[in-house]
Symmetry: C2
Amino acid sequence: MRSHVVLFGDSITEQSFKPNGWGSALANTYTRKVDVVVRGYGGYKSRWALFLLQTLLVGYTNPPVAVTIFFGANDAALLGRTSERQHVPVEEYKENLRKIVHHFKELSPAMLVVIIIPPPIDEEGRNEYARELSERTNEVTGVYAKQCIELAKELGVYSINLWSKMQETEGWQKKFLSSQVLRNCTFFYGDGLHLTAEGNAIVHEEVVRVFSEGGLDATQLASDYPHHSEIDPKNLEKSFQERSCTAGKNSKTT
Amino acid sequence: MRSHVVLFGDSITEQSFKPNGWGSALANTYTRKVDVVVRGYGGYKSRWALFLLQTLLVGYTNPPVAVTIFFGANDAALLGRTSERQHVPVEEYKENLRKIVHHFKELSPAMLVVIIIPPPIDEEGRNEYARELSERTNEVTGVYAKQCIELAKELGVYSINLWSKMQETEGWQKKFLSSQVLRNCTFFYGDGLHLTAEGNAIVHEEVVRVFSEGGLDATQLASDYPHHSEIDPKNLEKSFQERSCTAGKNSKTT
């Protein structure tokens, strides 16, 4: 039986299957080993996410082996500006995340839980997109990020600190966060908040690293069913009975 | 409960979550509506695929609402050349596909079954890859393609004729099928059999078209849970009870 991981979050998770997205890259990394189930909800904040938990995974007989929890980009929207309905006070945000982690750990104490800290904000890009005073600032998002990290430590679960990690690279603003650009007569959409291809690549790399640390290393997991080169045409029944024999091998093509 | 579709096939299905792949594009098209479950097995031919059917979808409580069945690129490998262990006689190939269709229809008579006819072969690209006489020819793959189409008609299921469709475009060989290229000091892998980004785009378009004809039109399906703009902050319980209210709307971002 193929196990599955769940990506639970806001639009940065929902959009993870767009071209160059971190979700599809993850599905490709775990091909024939683990299914990647997307549960991304654009515009959602942690308070609203709580309402989804009870019905999120109806239809699966077993709990996931891992989950990424990736909220906060909306919670950190400022009060008194255009996106204030997405705002959640930082103390409540932390408690909401705690409830989400508890929910998954109750489903299965062995589940690998990874909190992803929201990425930084490119305020210049955000201002261009909003055409007025940005409703998110990098500083405030940093306050929310800090609560995420503390919570992960308190609960003893893994975390990925995108907010800090991305800012280590010079030019992170345009390199990792999308911006509105007119290039070769083509308009590229961007908002200083969602990820570029390079930004998506970082999320993918980090999730693979943390999953591997947590025991979910794609290079060590068994493929479902034998590799085609290991199928004995004269003994098909036997080949398919010994289906776990490809553990630790990367799948080859054609 | 989120329904799901299954992509069942060989390496062209397994690789459908690589960058620009048709599988991840499909997952993006059906975001928040239908899960896309990949069951692609590089190098597999229809005879071997039969051994997977009974255990392919263990872990899902309900059958999929649709399935794509995409075998034949390996079955059509020529006898007496390097890939002959992948060869399946064309009559047997047709019967194997029939068994696969029956299996899914028995799981659920309402299931939307789509047979995808293998793509054409760029023999020049294939020869360069094989470094000897190609073990697949476009003509022979065409014979297998014809059997696919006949079978789909016999069984009254949908089909996508990639073999013909791709050849309608001038320069289809290099446009839709990957080839080995050295460009800007970078080596691009290719084998005249697997798909380029444009080739993947055609598969995606065709699957979306046929799914829509068969009643699975992403623009008409309900999202799971309300769009963020429809959530009433003063009446959260009610907002989440009326979760089917977003039917027919495309999900927006953030």
